[in-house]
Amino acid sequence: MIMYRLFFLTCIVFLANSVTYAAPSERIAVAGGSITEIIYRLGEQHRIVGVDSTSQFPEDAKKFPLLGYVRNVSVEGVLSLNPDLLLGEDDTGPTKALKQIAAVGVKTVIIKKDNSIPALQEKIAQIAGLLGVEDKGKALLDEIQVDIDALSYAKQHLSASAKKTPPKVLFLLTLKNGAPIAAGNTTSAHTVIEEAGAINALAQYKGWEKLSPESALKLDPDVIIVMNRGQDIFEQVNALPHFKYTTAVKNKAVYTIDGSYLLGFGPRTPQAIVELGTMIHKDFPLPEDYTFRYQHDVASMAEH
């Protein structure tokens, strides 16, 4: 009889334990802009207790206590918010701080970074799972599926010439100090350019590269995209000796787009890629019922 009772008790203890383990986190410290954005889109922002400085969208997210820059979070700072989950992107650090936070007993989940659309879908599903809102996650995934479908539709229906010789796109991080920094391969910008059915003019280099005037001229991009909000972006690009004689400037194919919208790999990124496609290609075929759903900096759409 005693054995039986003991067994029963153990079962209950185990059950209780498993229940507490599976309980979704209620106090979340977030390190990573796209994660914050996803939590907002899941409608679970009331569970956030602190964010890092890359969490700039939506505007509301800036009101949370700031954990500092994502690569440099402080151990006690995180603990003082009393979170039950630290949810961070791949670049959360320093590593030794994360180890200490985990050692103190805060569940720490670092989401592998791989800037691609499948990884984004996985990220949304993982976060929804951690928060115990799988159905909301499903709804969000369905929502971005519209953009992903539109992208594949567009790629299929692109004109034959665009398919055969896709436009060469140069993506610039900044034009400051007359030293443009451009996206090579392994960057998130490279991924979105390819997703938009174009090729990266700087694909043979790795990472973000500072361009010299001659090498920029040699690249001769068909389209230049600048991650900036400046109004007179065409003038700025035209003023640089790097680009003065490129096809892009000749055709006035110089555009600007918001960085976190396009490169953040949050829920808005698939739509941003569609928008990028409309900038790069003169004719970017979209399904008839497709509409842009997220508003952003409209000025950046301005064409010259």
Binding site: L66, V75, E76, S80, K96, A97, V104, K206
Partner: protein, 352 residues
């Protein structure tokens, strides 16, 4: 004559007072460092934990914060501050120049080179090793860099058994320049994320270090602190001039080598774990010399204690000023120490 005598009397009074005063300051700083932080703990809590802390299991959040985060951090700040303080004093004695600091013998530059190499090339060149040594990779890299650069400078200035200060200085400057350009090259090829990591490294940070990380550092620092303290008397004689010291029975080149090696060891250990923390090693011995004079028997322990207290207090400030985030400590030491030092200098010069 009378003036000199009264000055001496004043000095000796100050010298004897300085040790207990700085010791008290250090105690206060350590207590502050234990009590103040983003997670709130009261003095009562701490006393209870300490009284039956070691026997009780560390289960609650506050005990864990105290024993696994705050205590190691405080001890590290004391050790690093002490090392920087005394090594600065030792370097200024070695070069017989108050402008010297441990950077001259390549410790900081070598550490930076090692750390930057690990950050930028570590994962691509030897991924397996990085996996095995994990958290230790960066400190080990920095330590190897320190030792490497220091030993090159040592070799260069130690030819034919002569260890001349002028060659040491010149070799240090040249090797530091080379190291600087190597760091520049590595910075250029680094990716965006690596660049950010190494920028933060160069600003210094005492946080996030567990007991297992700080333990080797503590050992190295204590060995060289003891070693340097024993050199106080010969260094006093050395200040008279190399020839004079030689005549008084000091083995000058051995003395210089010892100072070099102990300093390289202590500062190398400090740099390897906390990154670059400028200014402390330079300004603390200065301050102490202004207050109590250049006698190394007092200058060394007081610089050590004051360096430890200064770094501990700045670390407290660095971690509470923008809660829940944290400032790199290197910024705070310079931002606080600089104006204070200028103030003392101004006072000094206006008196004459």
């Amino acid at each position: 004559m009378l003036e000199t005598l009264t000055l001496n009397q004043q000095r000796s009074k100050r010298q004897f007072m300085a040790i207990p005063v700085t010791l008290g300051l250090l105690f206060f700083a350590a207590l502050l460092a234990m009590v103040v932080g983003a997670v709130s703990l009261s003095i009562n809590d701490i006393l209870t934990y300490i009284s039956h802390g070691l026997s009780a299991s560390h289960s609650s959040l506050s005990t864990r914060v105290l024993f696994e985060i705050r205590l190691p951090r405080t001890i590290l700040s004391i050790a690093v501050g002490a090392a920087l303080g005394i090594c600065g004093a030792a370097m200024q004695a070695l070069f017989r120049n108050p402008l010297a600091d441990p950077g001259l013998i390549g410790v900081a530059g070598g550490g930076a080179l090692g750390a930057v190499t690990v950050i930028v090339l570590g994962n691509s060149i030897f991924p397996q090793t990085m996996d095995v040594i994990g958290l230790y990779a960066l400190p080990i890299g920095a330590m190897i860099g320190c030792l490497g650069v220091c030993s090159i400078i040592y070799k260069l200035s130690n030819r034919q058994g002569q260890f001349t200060i002028i060659t040491l200085l010149l070799a240090g400057i040249a090797v530091n320049a080379i190291v600087g350009s190597l760091i520049g090259i590595l910075t250029l090829v680094s990716s965006d994320s690596e660049l950010r990591e190494l920028t933060f490294w160069t600003m210094g940070n005492l946080g996030g270090n567990s007991w297992s990380l700080i333990f080797p550092v503590l050992i190295l620092i204590s060995i060289s602190l003891v070693g340097l303290s024993r050199l106080a008397k010969p260094l006093n004689l050395y200040l008279l001039g190399e020839a004079q010291a030689q005549h008084l029975g000091i083995e000058v080149s051995k003395l210089k080598k010892h100072v070099f090696i102990y300093t390289a060891m202590a500062v190398g250990a400090a740099v390897s774990i906390s990154g670059m923390i400028g200014f402390v090693g330079f300004v603390v011995p200065h301050l102490v010399r202004i207050l109590i004079g250049p006698d190394h028997r007092f200058l060394f322990p007081v610089s050590m204690l004051l360096g430890a207290s200064f770094l501990t207090i700045t670390d407290v400030i660095a971690r509470i000023i923008i809660i829940p985030a944290e400032l790199p400590i290197g910024l705070v030491t310079s931002a606080l120490g600089g104006p204070f030092f200028l103030f003392v200098l101004y006072k000094q010069t206006s008196r004459h």
